[in-house]
């Protein structure tokens, strides 16, 4: 596993790129911009990337993160890739439900469930 920036860790497993958010809060506007850049660099021009974003450590986020996730998903789908989210705690999942983004994103309980789905 390699640290690519202070806020995420990246791991490759079963043809999936797993990105773990290591901070418990994703809040500051600058942090979100940095995250956006880091994740965009991972996606790059790759075609057909299977990306899993692991939120297990995250206890708090703002709506700006939701916007970043939508931007990210558009880039991935435009390049015929897939995006899955996992490890979202109940309080944060509530934000996805309230905004109906739980219907937009593929959300799984944990990394294993996300890998199984992406492998289908």
């Amino acid at each position: 596993m390699a640290d690519i920036c202070p806020r995420i860790k990246i791991e490759y497993q079963d043809e999936a790129t797993i990105v773990e958010f290591t901070d418990d809060k994703i809040l500051e506007e600058k942090d979100i911009r940095d995250l956006d850049k880091a994740l965009s660099a991972i996606i790059g021009q790759a075609t057909g990337i299977n990306m899993i974003l692991d939120f297990s450590n995250v206890k708090f986020l703002s709506s700006a993160v939701l916007g970043m996730l939508i931007r990210l998903s558009k880039r991935i789908y435009e390049n015929e890739g897939q995006l899955a989210l996992c490890g979202i705690n109940p309080k944060i999942y509530e934000i996805f439900k309230i905004t109906r983004l739980n219907k937009v994103f593929d959300i799984y309980k944990n990394i294993d469930a996300a890998i199984d789905r992406l492998a289908e």
């Binding site: 709506s63 970043m68 309230i98 937009v104």
Partner: protein, 146 residues
């Protein structure tokens, strides 16, 4: 007589400027035994309101100031947040849950504030928001089958 704790502060338009105020508020919540859900809800609404003030109101001009006032009692928390921007009409913000807006990258902040707070109201010019959350409010909890 209800014990009301008040905190007034003026901060710069820097996203980190809210930290100290939030820590003060969190301390009040802890001393008054507010629930984790109350704390999460108010934190989210506060962050969204502050982000709106500095990004839309002040166009990220760090020199511009935001006035914040908290009034906390064992029953409820009142928050006033005022920016020096031109204001806006909150009624013009579209519903982010509509199919045509679901994939938009902005426009969820006010919706979340309303979803988690019992009251969200703006002054006439739209540069001051007043938010209230009652202790143990059910706001911010959706039905299980949603």
């Amino acid at each position: 007589m209800t014990d009301i704790h008040t905190h007034k502060v003026t901060v710069q338009s820097n996203s980190e400027a809210l930290k100290e105020s939030w820590q003060w508020l969190l301390k009040q919540f802890e001393s008054m035994d507010y629930s984790d859900h109350d704390s999460f809800a108010v934190h989210l609404a506060l962050e969204e309101a502050f982000y709106n003030a500095i990004s839309h109101g002040h166009k990220m001009n760090i020199e511009k100031k935001v006035d914040i006032e908290f009034n906390v009692s064992p029953e409820k928390v009142d928050i006033y947040l005022t920016d020096s921007g031109p204001g806006f009409d909150p009624n013009t913000i579209p519903d982010c849950r509509l199919p045509e807006n679901l994939y938009k990258t902005e426009g969820r902040g006010i919706f979340l504030m309303k979803a988690y707070m019992d009251l969200v109201e703006y002054n006439k010019s739209g540069n001051c928001v007043h938010m209230v959350r009652h202790r143990n409010s059910s706001k911010g909890v959706t039905a299980k089958n949603n």
